[in-house]
């Protein structure tokens, strides 16, 4: 079974609209969860992370995510997207006893005018 699942491979959205990118994790994943963004032809940049404490995590560029233990989810949200948010977004969690960061398959966010 996939450790980290991103159900949506592509999410088109109009500029200034809200967006939610979904991520679910399995029991093999520790509760250290992350969202990364990859702009075209670039490396991965950490958007935000959940380690413990408050379940609502705020990150860079106006993104936030909510850790939900009962639903094993860690969805990423932004209230109003911009064209510059067009990128690939990866959810990730530590697996293998915390030794390695395992990624979901990614969600391509495409912001249109």
């Amino acid at each position: 079974a996939q450790s980290v699942t991103q159900l949506d491979s592509q999410v088109p959205v109009f500029e200034e609209a809200p967006v939610e990118l979904r991520c679910n994790y399995s029991s093999s994943v520790s509760v250290y969860l992350f969202w990364y963004v990859q702009y075209p032809n670039q490396g991965l940049q950490l958007l935000l992370k959940y380690l413990s404490g408050s379940t609502l995590v705020k990150g860079i560029n106006g993104f936030e995510a909510e850790f939900n233990k009962s639903q094993t989810s860690f969805h990423l949200r932004k209230p109003s997207v911009h064209i510059s948010d067009t990128a690939e977004y990866f959810c990730a969690g530590l697996t293998g006893g915390g030794n390695k960061l395992t990624f979901g398959t990614g969600t391509q966010l495409k912001v249109e005018l």
Binding site: L44, G98, N99, K100
Partner: protein
């Protein structure tokens, strides 16, 4: 002032050749990693070193050999390159345990022709 730097950024080579990718981090991290991103953007861990000691070796062909001369450097040598090795290879580093997240380099796009 790059935190994790990889060289070269692009590498085009013929089948059967041997090539190396170098990685250096100046973050003072103890652990370094190599990831492979395929044409569908899927990211998979290949190797991990902690203080120069190999701790993760996924099911990677033995044509791939990592080398860590010190904890700030992790190089990847690939023998007898095959068409299927074409991908983007990312180096990353973290504190031991990785629970604060990994910092990624900008990637090396390897094309085998």
């Amino acid at each position: 002032d790059t935190a994790v730097s990889q060289t070269p950024k692009y590498l085009v080579t013929q089948m059967g050749n041997d090539k190396s990718i170098k990685c250096e981090q100046n973050l003072g991290h103890d652990t370094m990693y190599w990831y492979k991103q395929d044409s569908k953007k899927f990211l998979k861990i290949m190797f991990s070193y902690n203080n120069k000691e190999l701790i993760i070796n996924e099911t990677v062909p033995n044509r791939f050999s990592p080398k860590s001369p010190d904890k700030a450097h992790l190089n990847l040598h690939i023998n007898s390159l095959e068409l299927g090795d074409s991908a983007v290879y990312f180096c990353a580093s973290s504190r031991t345990g990785g629970n604060y997240g990994y910092t990624f380099g900008s990637g090396t796009r390897l094309t085998v022709v």
